[in-house]
């Protein structure tokens, strides 16, 4: 008698991280932040959604396909600022915040940034020290009912980071998939017919 052996299913959660690139993914990011900051930490809506969401980059993390964590990145001249980092309560204790931190560091590094900066709730200092963050100075400040330190981490220079002489069509690629051909490179196969809608007289007011 033969026994059919099948591979044992892996029980480890599957973590995937990507840029929030659609309105649905953006909504997922916002919902996770609302869940944690408004739901758990009593942050008022206007402080959580502070006006910087539409000038920022949002990163979304999934565990087995379910939205589980997010981070907001803002880009300054000399550093990338990590903000609004969230891991949903049911996914805590798996250590997956390290994964989203590492992903964001790598993302900033490949954009050519040499430094990541963030405002850290005091209680998280030991955790982030392990990730190479240290305090900018001795200042302690508070907003939205929590005390913060400013901390930063140096990022190793990335080979192949985008520079002025990077191929133009590489610069156009989706930013979290800079090493694979993008949609616009595919469009190049159509050639350049320079289409424009003809200008028409406005007929109604």
């Amino acid at each position: 008698m033969t026994v059919q052996m099948t591979a044992a299913p892996t029980l480890a959660p599957v973590v995937t991280i990507k840029l929030a690139a659609t309105s649905d993914e953006l909504l997922q990011s916002f919902a996770l932040r609302a869940a944690v900051f408004m739901g758990e930490q009593q942050c008022p809506y206007d402080e959580e959604f502070d006006g910087n969401d539409y000038t920022a980059t949002h990163v979304i993390m999934y565990v087995d396909g379910e939205p589980a964590g997010t981070m907001r990145l803002r880009w300054f001249q000399s550093f990338c600022k990590f903000e609004r980092c969230v891991v949903l309560r049911r996914y805590r204790g798996l250590g997956i915040h390290h994964e989203i931190n590492a992903w964001c560091k790598e993302f900033a590094r490949r954009k050519g940034y040499a430094r990541a900066y963030l405002h850290l709730q005091k209680r998280h200092m030991p955790m982030m020290e392990k990730e190479g963050f240290r305090r900018v100075d001795d200042r302690v400040f508070n907003f939205s009912d929590h005390e913060y330190y400013a901390v930063y981490c140096d990022l190793a220079p990335a080979e192949g980071a985008v520079k002025l002489d990077t191929l133009p069509m590489v610069v156009n690629r989706p930013e979290d998939r800079m090493d694979v051909e993008g949609i616009l490179e595919k469009s190049a196969a159509r050639g350049a017919s320079n289409p424009h809608a003809p200008r028409v007289e406005r007929r109604a007011n």
Binding site: L27, Q28, F30, A31, L32, R33, A34, A35, V36, M38, G39, E40, Q42, P44, Y45, D46, E48, F49, D64, G65, E66, P67, L88, R89, R90
Partner: protein, 188 residues
């Protein structure tokens, strides 16, 4: 009936229909805070695919969004659901204010019945506010996790012979033919 507050801490309590993107985001944020943050509902169940064929109503204290409800429209009734009030603003009747706004809106659209699906523990609350079970308790079978309840939009009119179903499909409408539970469920 509980009294419905006009103001909290000197800030006016108001309701508004979601008419701009930002309003919808406020409604979604309040629900995420309550259902995902507090009650540990998975994202894919909370945002179930009906948010863009529904009407959203938001309650504000001053400028701060603190409550939300979603209304779906059926041929013979309007269905308020996803009623949420941020924890620290509870106990002021903001939920009733939102339901009242639903009732007025339904009335203005010529709808004469409201239908909700209540958790068994909340049935008394709804009954206190003039709702009744669609199916008498003894008639409903065994273990039920939700209770269908109805009320008329105009309290002076009798309920029409129950046209509301005992339960409505909670699946995405595009998936009504698919069998089983809503897609994307993560079991607890």
């Amino acid at each position: 009936m509980s009294t419905i507050v006009q103001s909290i801490g000197g800030e006016a309590v108001t309701t508004k229909l979601a008419m701009r993107m930002e309003d919808s985001l406020q409604a979604f944020a309040v629900r995420a805070a309550c259902f995902i943050g507090e009650l540990d509902v998975p994202y894919s169940e909370e945002f179930d695919g009906h948010d863009f064929d529904a009407t959203h109503i938001i309650a504000c204290v001053g400028d701060e969004p603190v409550g939300a409800v979603r209304v779906r429209w059926f041929q013979s009734f309007a269905m308020p659901e996803r009623l949420a009030v941020i924890q620290r603003f509870r106990g002021h009747g903001i939920g009733q204010l939102l339901i009242e706004r639903c009732r007025m809106l339904a009335g203005s659209r010529g709808c004469n019945m409201l239908y909700v699906q209540a958790l068994p523990d909340d049935v008394k609350y709804w009954e206190k506010h003039g709702w009744r079970r669609l199916i008498a308790e003894e008639a409903s079978s065994g273990v039920k996790r939700i209770v269908a309840m109805v009320r008329t939009v105009d309290p002076n009119k009798p309920l029409p012979a129950a046209e509301a179903p005992e339960s409505v499909a909670l699946r995405r409408e595009a998936e009504l033919d698919a069998s089983g539970m809503p897609l994307g469920i993560v079991s607890n």
